[in-house]
Amino acid sequence: MSDKSDVWQGTLALMVLKTLETMGPLHGYGIARRIEQTSGDLLQVNYGTLYPALLKLEQEGYISAEWGTSDNNRRAKFYALTRAGAKKLAEEARQWEQTTAIIARFLFPDREAS
């Protein structure tokens, strides 16, 4: 477990939103698996961080939740992106891009030059 880093809260929310945008409505387990896979199994998502984050997004109105049935006939709570969530995601993604570009220029100036 030590080689896998826990996701930090702020970025987790962004990852959740992006996952829901790509995959459509998904249950908590699906979201966790998808994030882990996308990260190339470098990240690990557990209950303790995922569900409070989902709840917060739901309370803020960026995602909605509804009980439904999974592929293998299991009852699960499905989360879906709302319109406010989609807007938020676009905005956050742009900001994130900008921030990483700036940080990259600071940290690896030689790469910039090439």
Partner: protein, 903 residues
């Protein structure tokens, strides 16, 4: 991720508040969601080829600790601190329910403490703090001349017509009006008001109209505006009341309007029943006109400040205006010296937002004293509850230690304990508030005497609520914080050990308890000393020799104003009535007088002995009364020398006077006063001293107040009254209970003149009513003193019991080693007695220092009266010793074996 939009944050906040509720359903959903998450993980693991056991173990590891996740989730779902507080409250409620005895004692003492404070405060609030419910009351100012608030109508008319300082001014006077058409009076409380009265106050009528400037002119028709209350009471809320008449002092007044229910006049003690135009005042008199009287001081003047002016600016303008008013209203019949004084009058303003209250001014010191007393009671109650909490906390040590061992912080436990304290004081406050509602009303009824009852509105307003809440929070902090801090200073290991009885840092815990006991004893002693002083004052006042005997005397205040008795006939009519009254069966003797002693009324004048032995230089002010023959016999005032008045002392016979013994001694020393001549200023148009011959000396009697020092009083003969008033009082001494005489006396009046209005009063009660304030203060201070004593006893009992439980082992060993039961009792008692002595000494010191503050409420007793102090100390010492002895004796009855086995 950047912070969410404020609206989103608010939405989240609202949902979190919602999350505080419906917790069960949400918990179930969460569990279900986690469950399905876990199951899916397991299935995937199985598909990846793990054995079922491996799959489950791996899934659990991956998903992380379930309970931690739940905790995080819950914190996010609701508001953690509200959630915790609610849980703390639930827990506190359970703890309190588990020890109902402790809870009952604590809540009851807090309820009594908070209730007493709220009750007294709501009266203080009503008579001193609350603003009148009129438009912008903060801009109302009373116009006074120096310290004198009563002004004449000529002054008012000049102010009304010429003042520039205010945007509006008003004048009013209070009056007692008779609703009955002769016979026994039925009183209404009336206001004479200037035409602008309602407009300046900003009071619109609820029905009909209020007065206007037009109603201010002389000779205006007799109109009346009713208060809502009077309209309900007297006219049963008659919808068609406008245009009907109300007869007041037998004059019909046409009703033109009714004021809204919230307007109760400017007197917060009594409200009002009817308002009448000032200009109609002369209708009530057949023989005088107060409106043009330049020496008749009866009006209260108020001005409304202009929006752009402060009260100081307005006062400056009014001061400049003074001399103009003085010149225009100078009483022409005054002597030069008096006129020169009059011209020096200057106007002053004082804020009038709170209206006027006799209770507020008369009972001012008494109310503050009561406020202090109930404050002390609340402190004692706090000390008591704190002590109980301390004892409980040590019983709960292990609980705290366990909670701290499994990770609760000290703050968390203090918070839990404070929540319990808060819950206790909230329960106390709720009970206290209900007590106060009833208590303040009861108090008002207690101090309400006379024909027009007090109508002080003590209903709670925001200020009273705020006061109660503040008192509640403060008490919770006072009694809760120290025990909570002490209780949580725990040595974990020790506390968890099986045998440690007290892991709470032993001696220091007990020091707090000791300090509380000392404080409680000291405060209780102060209250007991106070109760003793006020009780002593009342006893002294009740046994004061008034100089007359008020028992079995019925007073009849007769008003012949509207009974068509011309002034010249008054003396004769009064005498005829008196003759008729004397023949009523059951009457021992009867007399008439202009004034009734101790009724508050007085009449004084300048006097000088014409042929005195030179003992008295200059003039002496005499307090006078005019009385009929038999007055002294009826009131049992001893005649020391000379003869009573008789029917030969008539208008045209030589003037005669009867002196009280003090003034006789003042004028003539030990010499015989009989036959000497005294000059009296008769207050008529001719300002010369009229000669009166002394025909008797009587024993001194009280004139205005029971607690006055002997005054210089003298009596003139009713038969010699050159200017008899339209009112007269009769004193009837009865063989039977005085109330039984009323019907036959009323009939006797009707035989002579059915038009006379009558008011009957039991003289004994009337005299008793003058002692109302000392009676109420004594009653309440004794009640609160006893309450304090009880609380102190409970406190000492509790502390001693606790000490006995704590030292069980020691006692067991001592007894096993052969120590006597008595010496064990003494061992337990000794500690408490030391506290008691320290507390008494402290309380005595503070009581001596505080005594001076209440000196003005005392009569015939000094604040440092040694007997009072000794009695208070003795009572407190005995009561508390008994309270401590009971548990101490129990210690001596312990079975040493049992006690040791427990160790």
């Amino acid at each position: 991720m950047s912070p969410a939009h404020p609206l989103r944050t608010m939405r989240a906040f609202a949902l979190r508040i919602g999350g505080l509720f419906a917790r069960d359903r949400q918990n179930r959903e969460l569990a279900e969601e986690f469950e399905s998450h876990l199951e899916m993980q397991i299935e995937d693991n199985l598909r990846a080829g793990m054995t079922p056991a491996e799959a489950r173990r791996d899934a659990l590891l991956k998903t992380g600790g379930l309970s931690l996740a739940q905790e995080n989730y819950r914190n996010r779902r609701g508001m953690p601190w509200i959630d915790t507080t609610l849980r703390d409250l639930q827990y506190a409620g359970r703890m309190l329910r588990r020890s109902p005895g402790f809870t009952a004692v604590a809540v009851l003492s807090l309820a009594l403490g908070i209730g007493a404070n709220t009750a007294i405060f709501s009266i203080v609030n009503a008579v001193m703090l609350r603003s009148l419910p009129v438009e912008d009351p903060g801009r109302l100012a009373q116009i006074k001349q120096g310290e004198n608030g009563d002004l004449t109508n000529p002054i008012w008319e000049h102010v009304r017509d010429h003042q520039q300082a205010f945007s509006g001014a008003l004048a009013y006077a209070e009056t007692k009006l008779d609703l009955a058409d002769g016979g026994q009076s039925q009183f209404a409380f009336g206001l004479w008001v200037s035409g602008d009265f309602f407009r300046v106050l900003g009071v619109a009528p609820m029905k009909g109209r209020v007065f206007g400037k037009y109603d201010d002119r002389r000779g205006a028709p007799a109109l009346a505006v009713l208060s809502y209350n009077f309209w309900q009471r007297r006219f049963a809320s008659d919808a068609d009341v406008i245009g009907k008449t109300v007869r007041l002092n037998r004059i019909p007044f046409e009703i033109v309007g009714v004021t809204p229910p919230w307007f109760k006049g400017l007197n917060v003690d009594r409200g009002f029943d009817v308002a009448l135009p000032l200009a109609c005042e002369p209708l009530l008199h057949t023989d005088r006109n107060d409106l043009d009287q330049r020496s008749m001081w009866w009006l209260t003047l108020l001005g409304r400040l202009r929006p752009d002016q402060t009260i100081l600016q307005a006062e400056a303008r009014m001061r400049l205006f003074s001399s103009e008013v003085n010149r225009a209203t100078l009483p022409s019949d005054w002597d030069a010296k008096g006129q020169a004084e009059y011209l020096k009058n200057t106007f002053k303003l004082s804020p009038a937002a709170g209206g006027f209250s006799e209770t507020g001014s008369q009972y001012r010191i008494a109310l503050f004293t009561l406020m202090a007393i109930v404050g002390l009671v609340l402190l004692i109650a706090c000390a008591n509850v704190a002590n109980l909490l301390l004892a409980r906390a040590s019983a709960r040590q292990r609980e705290f230690a366990v909670r701290m061992a499994i990770g609760a912080s000290r703050m968390r436990i203090i918070r839990q304990l404070m929540t319990e304290s808060l819950l206790l004081s909230l329960l106390g406050a709720a009970g206290g508030f209900l007590l106060a509602l009833a208590g303040s009303r009861l108090l008002v009824r207690l101090i309400s005497t006379g024909p027009i009852p007090l109508a002080i509105d003590t209903s709670p307003d925001l200020r009273v609520f705020a006061f109660t809440i503040a008192a509640t929070l403060l008490t919770a902090l006072l009694f809760g914080l120290a025990p909570a801090l002490r209780a949580t200073r725990v040595e974990l290991e020790q506390a968890l050990k099986e045998n440690a009885r007290s892991a709470v840092a032993g001696s220091s815990r007990f020091n707090l308890g000791k300090a509380l006991i000392v404080g409680q004893v000291a405060l209780s002693l102060m209250l007991l000393v106070g109760a003793g002083l006020f009780l002593g004052t009342l006893r002294n006042l009740l046994t004061v020799d008034t100089g007359f005997i008020s028992q079995s005397i019925l007073i009849i205040n007769a008003d012949a104003q509207q009974a068509s008795v011309p002034k010249s006939q008054r003396v004769q009519t009064y005498a005829e009535i008196l003759e008729r009254l004397r023949r009523v069966p059951g009457v021992v003797s009867a007399a008439s007088s202009m004034l009734v002693p101790l009724s508050g009324a007085g009449w004084g004048t300048r006097s000088r002995p014409e042929d005195g032995a030179g003992a008295s230089p200059g003039d002496t002010d005499l307090l006078l009364n005019r009385v009929s023959p038999d007055y002294f016999r009826s009131l049992r005032i001893p005649l020391l020398a000379g003869r009573d008045f008789n029917e030969h002392d008539a208008l045209h016979s030589p003037g005669v006077i009867i002196l009280g013994e003090s003034v006789a001694r003042h004028f003539f020393g030990p010499a015989n006063a009989l036959g000497k001549i005294i000059g009296l200023d008769e207050f008529g148009p001719v300002r010369t001293l009229q000669p009166y011959q002394v025909i008797a000396v009587v024993k001194d009697s009280k004139y205005r107040r029971i607690d006055e020092t002997p005054v210089w009083s003298a009596f003139l003969a009713s038969g010699q009254d050159p200017d008899p008033w339209p009112t007269v009082s009769y004193e009837v001494r009865s063989q039977v209970p005085v109330e039984q005489l009323i019907p036959s006396l009323r009939a006797a009046f009707a035989e002579v003149n059915p038009g006379v209005s009558l008011e009957f009063q039991n003289f004994e009660n009337q005299v008793g009513d003058t002692l109302l304030q000392p009676r109420v203060v004594a009653l309440l201070s004794v009640a609160f003193g006893l309450l304090a004593l009880l609380l102190a006893m409970v406190g000492l009992y509790g502390v001693t019991s606790y000490a006995v439980v704590q030292r069980k082992g020691e006692i067991g060993i001592r007894m096993a080693l052969g120590e006597q039961r008595q010496s064990v009792t003494w061992l337990m008692l000794r500690d408490v007695l030391i506290l008691l002595v320290v507390g008494l000494a402290l309380g005595l010191g503070v009581a001596l220092a505080a005594g001076r503050l209440v000196a003005s409420l005392l009569y015939g007793i000094k604040p440092n009266d040694p007997l009072q102090l000794a009695v208070a100390v003795l009572v407190l010492a005995c009561a508390t010793t008994v309270a401590a002895y009971l548990p101490a004796r129990r210690a001596a009855r312990l079975d040493p074996m049992a006690a040791l086995r427990e160790e």
